[in-house]
Amino acid sequence: MGQGAAPRRGQAYDGELGAAVARAQQGDEAAFAVAYRLVQPGLLGYLRGLVGDDAEDVASDAWLEIARDLGRFRGDGAGFRGWTATIARHRALDHLRRQRVRPRSSALEQDVLELPGPQNTYDLALEAISTEHALELVRGLPRDQAEAVLLRVVVGLDGPAAARVLGKRPGAVRTAAHRGLKRLARQLGAESVTDEAPRTLGEST
């Protein structure tokens, strides 16, 4: 991750998340809010990669279903992230299907561009590459690669969980994630030279 502590996004909070989910399943409203705050950023990031600026709407739909079906869920914090990602993915695919019927401008969404800057103090090497451009690149990946990368990196699922969300074999998902990352690395690497990023990981001048 390049961010030191967290091995994967979200995984650091899995203990807390699991406890919150368990309490929410007992009817604890505040615990549900805690779970929401822990899960929503990654979930929304995944949805941004899938549906762009409709991510908020799709996430809202997904959370309605999550809230409704929470009693059915069984598992820990990591499981909850997988379960919610599955629900969100289904809502996103529904959304994309509807969009295909009623096509709309696919220009890079304005509110994505206007979103505030990077959440973390990631102002080192790749600062020069605009985050919105990175998003564009992610969305430019083949769907299977983009989803594999997003589930692994943004939602923080492990390989088997990502595979389960996608309904594919773990090996296929691992390959897709690998290819996606390599492709992004190639594109971003090329651009980081073009954009003459001044402080690329310290190895440049």
């Binding site: 959370w63 997988g82 973390n120 990631y122 985050t131 969980a161």
Partner: protein, 265 residues
């Protein structure tokens, strides 16, 4: 990986091109994930939670897709899942095969020869012409009356076995399948599932020869075959008697036969 030609010829060219996965991941997270949540969206989600809770949704049943417990997804990958799917596939294919052999067997021959397979309690003689013997199967309005006297000594096992063998062959050729009882009987007769093909080849060769020799088959030649096969003989004979008594079918095939029996005077 970065193959983009670098005009600058900087010394750092190579390392700059090869971004680490961790860098790419960090960039993706930076561009897609925002900390903090929209308060309004959170409140809507919590309201939905409250509504579901108050409606008693917590007591709903867990479906397979809701079960994300570690036990289920940690190492099920190869062994358990593979085993289960192989098992399921074999059951499914087997079931389809058995069902379709029954379909293959009954509609073509059902109208004519099923009565002979399940004779009325009084009618001892059996009719080999009722079987789907190639070339010997001519439209016959009253098979029982015609053929029963012709081959009075024809034993039941041979008929059943040959019919099942033909059904089995047909199923293999046309992708249809056989009903369960028939299939089991055939397997029992062959002395094991792996022997069925060889067993049937032998049996059908016999009956083809007979058909060529004497039209509808020579009962004298057939007499020997079934008796050499203890399993089939016992099974079929027993079964024919039982179904004649009860009349009520245990399965679809027998049901059909008993109906045919009813229609027969």
């Amino acid at each position: 990986m970065g193959e983009r030609p670098n005009d600058g010829g900087l010394s750092s060219r190579g390392s700059r091109h090869a971004l680490l996965d961790s860098d790419v991941e960090a960039l993706i997270v930076a561009s897609l994930v925002r900390d903090g949540v929209d308060a309004g969206a959170e409140q809507r989600a919590v309201a939905a939670f409250r509504a579901a809770r108050d409606a008693g949704a917590a007591r709903t049943r867990t479906r397979g897709r809701d079960d994300w417990r570690a036990r289920e997804r940690r190492y099920p990958g190869r062994s358990l899942r593979t085993t289960l799917s192989v098992l399921l596939a074999s059951l499914t294919l087997g079931g389809v095969a058995m069902a379709a052999i029954g379909v293959a067997g009954s509609p073509e021959e059902g109208t004519e020869d099923t009565p002979e397979h399940r004779p009325a309690p009084s009618s001892a003689p059996r009719d080999p012409a009722g079987q789907p013997a190639p070339g010997s199967h001519s439209p016959d309005p009253g098979p029982g009356t015609r053929s029963a006297p012709a081959h009075p000594e024809r034993p039941a096992p041979a008929q059943d076995t040959e019919a099942h063998c033909r059904a089995y062959e047909g199923a293999r050729q046309h992708g249809k399948a056989m009903e369960a009882t028939a299939w089991q009987r055939l397997v029992a007769a062959a002395g094991g599932e792996s022997n069925v093909t060889a067993y049937c080849a032998e049996r059908l060769d016999d009956s083809k020869d007979n058909g060529r020799d004497s039209g509808n088959g020579d009962p004298a030649q057939h007499d020997g075959t079934p008796t050499t096969d203890p399993g089939g003989g016992k099974e079929s004979g027993d079964d024919s008697g039982r179904s004649a008594e009860t009349g009520a079918g245990k399965n679809r095939g027998e049901d059909k036969r008993s109906q045919s029996n009813d229609r027969q005077p």
